[in-house]
């Protein structure tokens, strides 16, 4: 089986590498539209001499043709050398990787919460499908799902930070000066926001696919073989319900990753999103490029993982792919 899966894995990897290259070109192109002099000016300020500009351009290698710079950048990027920030002069990888680590932890915590809560709620609803409680909760989920993300974040912020005062007002401060506990606490609200963003979608699809799976003839057939309801649910119903759910989880994980930009902003969380906003603001080309590429890589990895999970869940697709 594992050998048989090599081919689909290889095709997916190949396709995704192409995607990454295209993204890198577009990103690089957009970031380097400006003339090198303008880049220098936006970093150094208006009141600089021509010599200073020339010096800056030469130091950062901005005078080479775009294609050469692109190849130079992407080949270094591929081996983990993200270059030096043209603003601070520090290696970009330092900042980006710490932040990436933090933001991924945040996204993972949030998704874990959102997916787990969504599945539990969805399955519970499916078991009560058609009841009043089901109707109310489904309506509630719809309301949450239709709220813009910042509204959820602001609501949580108002209740838990401003009103109850359980969490620090500035997560960034806790990170710089707090102990481990204080740092851990800073994750709670942003993760909860991300989780709340995902949960309604997951819950609704989980509910629908569980209802469908429980109504399927093979679930009836499994009951009629005298299997326990547990076995019927886990081996027969849920396993097949997981398939449509998996693709929705994939979309939502991507959503969670992009959600870190919003929660960084809302909660002052010192993550990759905050750095992205800052680096765009300061004209820090290499940092911005590195962050965009990091997002792209993470999303591509998620897509591949979801694809493979779906292949694993669906033997028919597995045989077709091989």
């Amino acid at each position: 089986m594992s050998l048989r899966l090599l081919k689909p894995i290889a095709t997916r990897l190949g396709a995704n590498v192409v995607t990454l290259i295209v993204i890198s070109m577009v990103t690089f192109g957009l970031m380097n539209l400006k003339a090198p002099e303008d880049v220098a000016r936006s970093v150094l300020g208006r009141e600089v001499s021509a010599a200073q500009i020339a010096d800056f351009v030469a130091k950062n290698g901005l005078d080479a043709p775009v294609a050469v710079r692109y190849v130079d950048w992407i080949s270094r990027f591929a081996i983990g050398d993200f270059g030096h920030s043209i603003v601070t002069g520090r290696p970009v990888s330092n900042d980006v990787l710490t932040r990436l680590n933090r933001s991924l932890t945040l996204a993972a915590l949030g998704s874990l919460f959102g997916v787990a809560a969504g599945i539990v709620i969805g399955v519970q609803l499916a078991l009560r499908a058609g009841s009043k409680a089901d109707f109310r909760v489904v309506t509630g989920l719809l309301v949450i799902a239709s709220m813009p993300e910042f509204l959820i974040g602001i609501a949580l912020y108002l209740v838990f930070v401003v009103w109850l005062g359980w969490f620090p007002t500035q997560a960034g401060m806790a990170f710089s000066f707090g102990d481990a506990w204080a740092r851990a606490m800073t994750f709670v609200l942003p993760a909860a926001t991300i989780g709340l963003l995902l949960m309604p979608h997951i819950a609704r699809v989980a509910r629908a696919s569980a209802i469908e799976a429980f109504a399927s003839p093979y679930v009836d057939a499994a009951r009629l073989r005298g299997l326990s309801e547990r076995q019927v649910s886990w081996d027969h119903a849920f396993r097949n319900a997981a398939l449509p759910l998996m693709s929705v989880i994939g979309v939502n994980l991507v959503y969670a990753v992009s959600g870190v930009v919003v929660v960084d902003f809302l909660f002052g969380f010192p993550g990759l999103g905050a750095l992205l906003v800052a680096s765009i603001g300061s004209g820090d080309v290499f940092t911005t490029q590195a962050i965009v590429m990091m997002f792209a890589v993470v999303i591509v990895v998620i897509n591949i993982a979801v694809d493979l999970a779906m292949l694993w869940l669906n033997p028919k697709a597995r045989f077709r792919a091989a």
Binding site: Y218, A222, L227, S228
Partner: protein, 613 residues
């Protein structure tokens, strides 16, 4: 409920059907009644008595919606929703219906097994068949390790699955339909149950597959002495397989008894008509279809068949008709059974016209369809000619290429080689590129009318389409007249013009599709499995309609079906297809009396007949 049945003559050795004393083995169903909704609603199944004996197959026949599937599931205590089930179902003296849910589950798959219609749906698509077979064995028998493996191999061998060890590791979709049903059968038989319920187990499978599974079942029943309830709408199949036969109509058993007795001397008019409506290989004639539709539930204050019964009289209404016993161990619910002792309505041949000795209307010459990448052509050098008014049948198993031939003639796919001519025109273009008159002259009707009837249009709008499209400048009143006339021809009330397709039954929709095809005034009608999804009574009406209109207007017909007996009723000439090739072509009578090819003979032999000799 039991007092409905008249006391029977004291001693009759053959008298076992519906016996009062529950047997010590098998399953005795007594007074089984199923209601959806409150007591004000007519029961779906009413007071059913059936006795499943060890080593015997009891066939439960009836048309769709008569309650036979509901009966089968209710009898083993399987609930589908909010229905209330009353009555008893005794498994060796224990009432299955009185057991608590856990005790019932311990019986299922263990002492009582159930196989449903479509194995492709009943097997979990994401689990190997081996695991699905192992589950009940572990649970009910506590088997594991080598013993489990041995038993699984034994079971797959029992149901004739080739290479059992490899097969166990496969997923359901890696098997053919027939093999999937064998797998389902192996799972059902794994714990050596006393009772096996089969709900249309071979419906949708090819006749040859069907015949092989029937033979397998018979041998298993003989060997294991299992008691079987076999539910099917296919009376001919039951006639061949079942030891006794029960016929269900509107939730009641209207007749039951030993199969040979029921077939030789049906007592209930419905049984007679059902027998006459079932197409037979040895006789192309059918009894005329009966008007109307069965009621939604059991009718308790009249004979439920009265509105459609050709023999109904005043005495038939006003009270439920009790089941009465007749010699030979038969029970039937009809007042007039004695008076009607003779045969049922006599069969008549479908309308035919003499085929003029003219040039052929359609020439198909060495036509081939080879999809790219396919190992062999779907259609391989097929040739035939069709004259005006002639009706040709194409039979074959699934994958034989019979439908592809129609698709090419109608221009849905283009042949990869060969030549087709319609009148003086070459048929090489796809339908979209054909001139409008050609699209009018060649009409195609599909198996599933739902796919071709727009659900948002009324029947009138649907029927107006061909008139607007092909007979442009008709005045509105003339169009309306033709729509009404066409409904009349397919025996649908004119009031149906204002209905939506989904308000009609499947058979009625199929007749709308046929009416629409004929409204185009075609010269050639292509029918692709048009009656395959229909009950025999509706099938007869649809066949009559096609035959009548084609005879009246001299329309040539190509009738494709996997059902030889159906093709026999309507076709003048028959092509037998296999693996894309025509293996035999003969006139209809000749093909069945004197088949030339071994494959044709196998195909004919696989069709269940009522001939009990």
């Amino acid at each position: 409920m039991l007092d409905i049945v008249d006391p029977r003559p004291a001693a009759d050795p053959t008298d076992t059907a519906g016996s009062f004393d529950p047997p010590t083995a098998g399953l005795a169903i007594r007074g089984l009644t199923v209601r959806y909704g409150g007591p004000e609603r007519a029961p779906t199944v009413w007071s059913v008595d059936l006795t499943l004996e060890p080593g015997k197959i009891l066939g439960l026949a009836g048309e769709s919606g008569c309650g036979k599937s509901t009966t089968a599931k209710a009898a083993i205590g399987f609930r589908q929703g909010s229905e209330t089930v009353t009555g008893r179902s005794l498994l060796a003296g224990t009432d299955v219906l009185a057991l608590d849910p856990l005790a019932r589950r311990a019986l299922w798959g263990n002492r009582v097994s159930y196989v449903s219609q479509s194995a492709s749906l009943a097997l979990n698509p994401a689990m190997t068949v081996g695991r699905q077979l192992a589950q009940p064995l572990r649970r009910h028998r506590g088997l594991s390790g080598a013993a489990l493996k041995r038993r699984m191999l034994e079971l797959f061998t029992l149901v004739d699955i080739p290479d059992p060890a490899v097969a166990l590791k496969k997923y359901p979709f890696q098997f053919s339909g027939g093999q999937q049903q064998r797998v389902a059968l192996a799972i059902a038989l794994c714990c050596e149950p006393e009772v096996l319920i089969l709900d249309e187990p071979t419906t949708g499978l090819d006749v040859t597959t069907q015949a092989r599974i029937s033979a397998l079942l018979r041998s298993i029943v003989d060997r294991t002495r299992i008691a079987v309830l076999y539910v099917s709408h296919n009376l001919a199949l039951l006639a061949n397989l079942a030891d006794s036969l029960a016929v269900m109509y509107a939730g009641q058993i209207v007749e039951q008894g030993p199969t040979p007795v029921v077939l030789a001397r049906p007592r209930h008019p419905y049984t007679k008509i059902l027998l006459g409506l079932s197409p037979r290989l040895e006789d192309p004639r059918l009894v005329p279809g009966i008007p109307g539709l069965p009621p939604a539930g059991a009718v308790l204050d009249d004979c439920s068949f009265a509105p459609r019964c050709p023999y109904a009289e005043a005495a038939c209404c006003g009270a439920a008709v009790p089941a009465r016993r007749f010699p030979g161990g038969v029970e039937a619910r009809c007042h007039r059974a004695e008076a009607l002792a003779g045969g049922g309505p006599s069969p008549v041949a479908l309308s035919r016209v003499a085929i003029p000795d003219a040039d052929p209307l359609l020439i198909v010459d060495q036509v081939e369809l080879h999809y790219r990448g396919a190992p062999r052509p779907s259609v391989d050098k097929v040739s035939f000619k069709l004259k005006t008014g002639e009706r040709i049948g194409i039979v074959g198993e699934s994958g034989s290429g019979k439908s592809s031939v129609l698709k090419m003639i109608s221009g849905l796919v283009a042949p990869t080689a060969g030549y087709m001519r319609f009148g003086d025109t070459r048929l090489d273009a796809l339908a979209v590129d054909r001139p409008r008159w050609l699209c009018r002259d060649i009409q195609l009707v599909f198996q599933n009318p739902d796919a071709s009837l727009n659900p948002r249009h009324t029947i009138r709008q649907i029927l107006m389409r061909p008139l607007v499209l092909f007979h442009g400048k008709l005045p509105a009143s003339e169009r309306e007249r033709r729509v009404r006339e066409s409904l009349e021809r397919v025996r649908l009330p004119a009031a149906f013009a204002d209905r939506m397709p989904q308000e009609l039954s499947g058979g009625q929709r199929q007749r709308v599709a046929i009416a629409r095809a004929f409204l185009a005034s075609p010269k050639l009608l292509l029918c692709d499995e048009v009656t395959s999804a229909l009950d025999v009574s509706v099938q007869a009406a649809v066949l009559e309609t096609i035959a009548e209109i084609s005879a009246d207007a001299g329309v040539a017909v190509v009738f494709v079906s996997h059902d030889l007996a159906v093709v026999r009723t309507i076709a003048d000439r028959i092509l037998v297809m296999r693996n894309g090739q025509v293996v035999e072509a003969q006139d209809a009578d000749g093909l069945f009396t004197n088949p030339q090819e071994p494959y044709t003979r196998d195909l004919i032999a696989a069709v269940p007949t009522f001939d009990l000799a």
